[in-house]
Symmetry: C2
Subunit: 138 residues, 2 copies
Amino acid sequence: MSDLLERLRGRGWRLTSQRRVVAEVLDDGEHVHLTADEVHARAAERLPEISRATVYNTLGELVTLGEVTEVSTDGRAKRYDPNAHHPHQHLVCTGCGTIRDVHPTGSPLTDLPADQRFGFTVTDAAVTYWGLCPACAS
Amino acid sequence: MSDLLERLRGRGWRLTSQRRVVAEVLDDGEHVHLTADEVHARAAERLPEISRATVYNTLGELVTLGEVTEVSTDGRAKRYDPNAHHPHQHLVCTGCGTIRDVHPTGSPLTDLPADQRFGFTVTDAAVTYWGLCPACAS
DNA sequence: TTCTTGACTTGGATTGCGTCCATCGTAGGA
DNA sequence: TCCTACGATGGACGCAATCCAAGTCAAGAA
């Protein structure tokens, strides 16, 4: 994660305590995909005065820089995936909304023939798998 | 679409003018994927007093019955896809948000090995392709 | 070290999308 | 035709996210 902070500094980021804390929170919970509010709650444990607006701003900047991926599954709150540098797909629980990273075989982008692209310049493809997690299934 | 109305009646639906109009709107614009607000606007052209709550209720019921599919691409408003009986995926313009139905080769569900399911009972998979439509690319 | 400045943060207001609820209306069976 | 339970209404509400004007501060300059 210090890598991340270095990369950000290299891009001309002013390194404030708020931004540092948000980056640390994303790093700490690398296995989970936090909502903006969850990021804010965890950041506030270390920096009580941090505002939600700043968390939103910082997350948005990290997404723009490609350091973090935004995952919006259904109509719920967006979740933020710090695992942006390793391509993967998502498995979402229809019960509780938690997300797992998965690695399916095959690559979806190549599965779209030219005659199915309708003149679009297709740049990305995402596969979302839906199901019930063990906890919600019981 | 009269098919749809028949099916709904067969399921014990009370056939009100509001529900009929919502169904007609979805049928009319079969090529597009309308937001709830767009459905409401078009329905209101024929039935000015129809309320947004009724449109939301009716759309929700149609989704529950499997007659319509809910498509939530990014953080924007959900869109409703009347083409629920023909499996397909979606190609979304990152510029304007419009959606096209596409038919990729291969089937995503079979692409997730058992050791990548983490105890989930996986029931569905959706592929979303992202790109710029011809209008937004120019 | 202190100064300076513009980028960053703040929090309260606001927007967008969707749901809830008490009340009224009406489709369709008796 | 009448009854009544199911559906419609619309205004209040909730949640996620954004906006904005004012205050704060990181980091380069001197």
